[in-house]
């Protein structure tokens, strides 16, 4: 043990050499890389019909392009600065531009029941925008699933083995003791904090988006420290899909109900609760939970898809 420690101090032995497996990347000098690029462009030139385009692109086009890019950026910056100079000054009392804000600040607590006015604003006054915003995240998740989830089309034939090896390597990452140790301590705290931020959205700064992001980060650290396998067992893809679906449709229908009653003058039967208590703000708490679930699973889904091309290992 002591012998090993001394050898490590002297730099003769790398204790992580057998734990972390890193891919050997052959070292290349800058000249070699440049030469390879030159070879590629020469190959492209040889293809019929591309000589002219490639020639233009290389010499005159590049020059014109850089000059035009700089000029248009400088112009845009100038125009925007000029515009900003004409805007009303920050913090100035202006009855026209502060009419809406004043109502939010003065009556927000009374009308929405939320101490945190921002939550009341995004989940009650302008809940329709937030409904769209949570679906933006969902759409992004779907797009990444389409792009990265491994299927017969984006797995290049002849490379199936490569993908298997890549996945296996990821499952093997759990040997890292530092990650495991830190993860053991940090992950519960992160989840607790995320839940706190999520559930206190109507009382203090926070809410669905921020709490969900914290919990998503917790999932990612969990997966990085302990590997995907335990998470796959707890959250297979079907379950993730179902929970996301349930959260989104709950949001749609709960808000649909509020919109419907509000527009038709039907009394809204959802109690507002005592301002300041955890169960207050009417629908804000359940909606925050729904948004938080969508955000957390979207973040975890991105991580999972980018690292191995599937959610829940299916």
């Amino acid at each position: 043990m002591r012998e090993g420690f001394r050898r490590w101090l002297d730099g003769e032995d790398d204790v992580l050499a057998h734990v972390m497996d890193s891919e050997e990347v052959p070292y290349r000098t800058r000249e070699e890389i440049k030469e390879e690029r030159r070879m590629v462009s020469r190959e492209a030139d040889r293809e019929k019909g591309t000589e002219v385009i490639a020639g233009i692109e290389r010499r005159s086009f590049r020059a014109v392009y850089s000059v035009a890019a700089v000029v248009s950026c400088v112009l845009l910056i100038g125009v925007l600065l000029f515009t900003i100079a004409g805007l009303p000054r920050y913090g100035m009392e202006n009855p026209r531009t502060t009419e809406v804000v004043r109502r939010y600040v003065e009556k927000g607590l009374e009308e929405t029941g939320a101490v945190n006015i921002v939550s009341g604003l995004i989940l009650d006054y302008r809940a329709f925008d937030t409904l769209g915003e949570s679906h933006v995240l969902f759409t992004a998740l779907i797009c990444v699933m389409i792009l990265l989830r491994i299927d017969r089309k984006n797995m290049r034939t002849g490379y199936e083995d490569y993908y298997m090896i890549r996945e296996d390597r990821l499952f093997d990452m759990t040997k890292d003791n530092i990650m495991r140790g830190v993860g053991m301590i940090v992950v519960p705290c992160i989840f607790l904090y995320g839940l706190y931020v999520l559930l206190n959205g109507q009382l203090s700064p926070g809410g669905g988006f921020s709490g969900g992001a914290v919990m998503g980060a917790g999932f990612i650290i969990l997966a990085a420290a302990f590997g995907m396998k335990p998470l796959d067992r707890a959250l297979p893809e079907r379950r993730i899909r179902f929970i996301t679906f349930a959260a989104l449709s709950f949001y749609s229908f709960a808000k649909g109900y509020v919109f419907f009653t509000g527009a038709n003058g039907i009394p809204n039967r959802i109690p507002k609760g005592t301002p300041g208590a955890i169960l207050s703000g009417g629908l804000i708490l359940p909606l925050d939970i729904a948004v938080g679930i969508v955000v957390a699973f979207t973040m975890f889904g991105f991580y999972s898809l980018f690292s191995r091309g599937s959610i829940g290992g299916e």
Partner: protein, 497 residues
């Protein structure tokens, strides 16, 4: 208040819910569900159209308990309802006619995700049409941006991925500029809802010192939407995006998505900024010039294209130029012409993108002109539908394209500026000639004599033919009753103010 006033809300909520639901279903079930859902949406939008026509006025719908300047709102008038009905019909036809290609182009495990995207896209289109709030417009514009990239990459070949990256960059640039414009307008006016914003801007604009900031804000917003809809010189993403997408996506992207941005622009001009204020800005003339350039350059590029989808896509760039030309001419006549052309182009271009893959399928899966010789004889249905749509693009009477060109001419005359009149007339003439050149050439090519003209598809294909017949009939109806539609659009524009 009639129960029908709830329908705009239902169309949005139902589509959003369908999006989430389709993720849970299998591909086949998702397809059936989506088509049924689209039918229900068409019925709802048609009810709204009937209701607004019978009451003769638009209605606003408060989203929640908080009225105008504080909470969200949506709004429905004749123009919104008409656009919604037409967009939903085109969407339905595109899904129905392109469905045979979806299992070929998309991996089986991702078919349901495709329908998820289609439903979310429908929700975003509906929200952009009904919205009465600029920021709601921005949120659903984001959904539209993401879904339009999604339906493009779903084919998972190198070409579409590359096209999607380029499309995404241009689109995000456009979204960013639009958001910047909205923020500037919010900063000076203090409102996001369209009607209070317009009142606030009207009082601001009475002081000429404020016009610079207002022009900048509206200008940035306009540029953002122009980039997203592909106005010259931002049209170079079009051929790859439309040309390589799976047919349903190509049809939907070219005929609905880019038009929804223009519709939002018109709505912003009329309802959020006020058309009188916009008229005092130099934006109209810039849009007119860019539109004219787009018409010429789009047509020239289309003439030089070597495969049919590329040609059709470049002709889209020219048609977008027409629409912006109408907006640039201004006045009720100009805007009516622009919106009529949105409708005409939506039914025509989707028909073209849905027929070209069939022509290619009987020509060794090649879209190159030289291989398409006689393809219209090998697949007569597709050939006939293509020809009808091509005639509409050229502007042959009876079809919608003729009516819209006539309207553009009338608009140019009514503007009362000789220079604009001459410019517009010359460009209309040149572009009609160019249109005729490349479309007639294509029609001759696909019906030309070829060594092999034996029909490949003899069986009756009900779903494809139904969808294409609906699109062609809609095209002819728009052409025959153009005056009726123009009157309706005029009434809708009056309701905007």
């Amino acid at each position: 208040m009639s129960f029908i006033t709830n329908f705009p809300l239902f169309t949005i909520i139902l589509s959003l819910f369908s999006g989430a639901l389709c993720m849970m279903l299998s591909g086949e079930a998702a397809r059936r569900y989506t088509l049924t859902c689209e039918c229900a949406l068409i019925a709802m939008a048609a009810c709204v159209l009937g209701y607004t026509l019978s009451t003769g006025q638009a209605f606003t719908y408060v989203m929640g308990e908080f009225p105008a300047p504080w909470g969200n709102e949506i709004r429905a008038g004749v123009l919104e309802a008409m656009t919604a009905v037409l967009f939903l019909i085109v969407m339905f036809c595109a899904v129905l006619a392109g469905r045979k290609y979806l299992p070929i182009d998309i991996d089986e495990s991702k078919l349901n995700l495709y329908y998820t995207l289609i439903n979310l896209m429908t929700a975003a289109l509906m929200a952009l049409i009904w919205t009465n709030d600029l920021f709601t417009g921005y949120v659903f514009l984001e959904i539209l941006t993401l879904t339009s990239c999604g339906v493009l990459i779903v084919r998972e070949i190198g070409r579409t991925t590359l096209a999607a990256v380029r499309y995404m960059i241009m689109n995000l640039l456009g979204s960013g500029l639009f958001l910047l414009g909205v923020v500037l307008l919010y900063d000076v006016s203090g409102h996001l809802l369209m009607v209070p914003m317009r009142a606030s801007i009207a009082s601001l604009a009475s002081d000429p010192g404020n016009m610079t900031v207002l022009s900048m804000a509206v200008g940035i917003l306009t540029i953002g939407l122009a980039i997203k809809s592909g106005l010259f010189p931002f049209h170079y993403w079009m051929p790859d995006t439309y040309g390589w997408a799976t047919p349903t996506s190509g049809a939907v992207l070219s005929s609905l998505v880019s038009k929804a941005y223009i519709f939002l622009l018109v709505k912003t001009y009329f309802r959020a900024v006020g058309i009188d204020v916009v008229r005092r800005m130099p934006i109209g003339n810039i849009l007119l010039v860019l539109g004219l350039c787009g018409i010429v350059f789009g047509s020239v590029s289309a003439l030089r294209a070597d495969h049919i989808n590329r040609m059709v896509a470049f002709s889209s760039a020219a048609q977008i130029g027409y629409i912006y030309m109408g907006i640039g001419l201004g006045g009720t006549v100009g805007f009516t012409a622009a919106i009529f052309h949105i409708f005409a182009h939506a039914v025509t271009k989707s028909a073209l993108f849905l027929t070209t893959p069939r022509l290619a399928a009987v020509s060794d899966d090649s879209l190159l002109f030289k291989n398409l010789q006689g393809s219209g004889l090998r697949d007569r249905n597709a050939g006939i539908f293509f020809t009808a749509a091509a005639f509409s693009m050229i502007g042959i009477p009876v079809f919608a394209g003729f009516a819209s060109k006539l309207m553009f001419g009338t608009a140019a005359v009514s503007v009362g500026s000789p220079l604009k009149l001459i410019l517009v007339m010359v460009v209309l003439a040149v572009s009609s000639l160019l249109n005729a050149m490349y479309f007639i050439r294509t029609v001759i090519r696909i019906f030309g004599p070829a060594p092999d003209t034996a029909p490949r598809y003899t069986g009756f294909r009900p779903t494809y033919n139904t969808a294409m017949v609906i699109l062609t009939v809609a095209n002819i109806l728009l052409g025959l009753f153009s005056q009726v539609f123009a009157d309706l659009i005029g009434r809708g524009l009056m309701m905007f103010a």
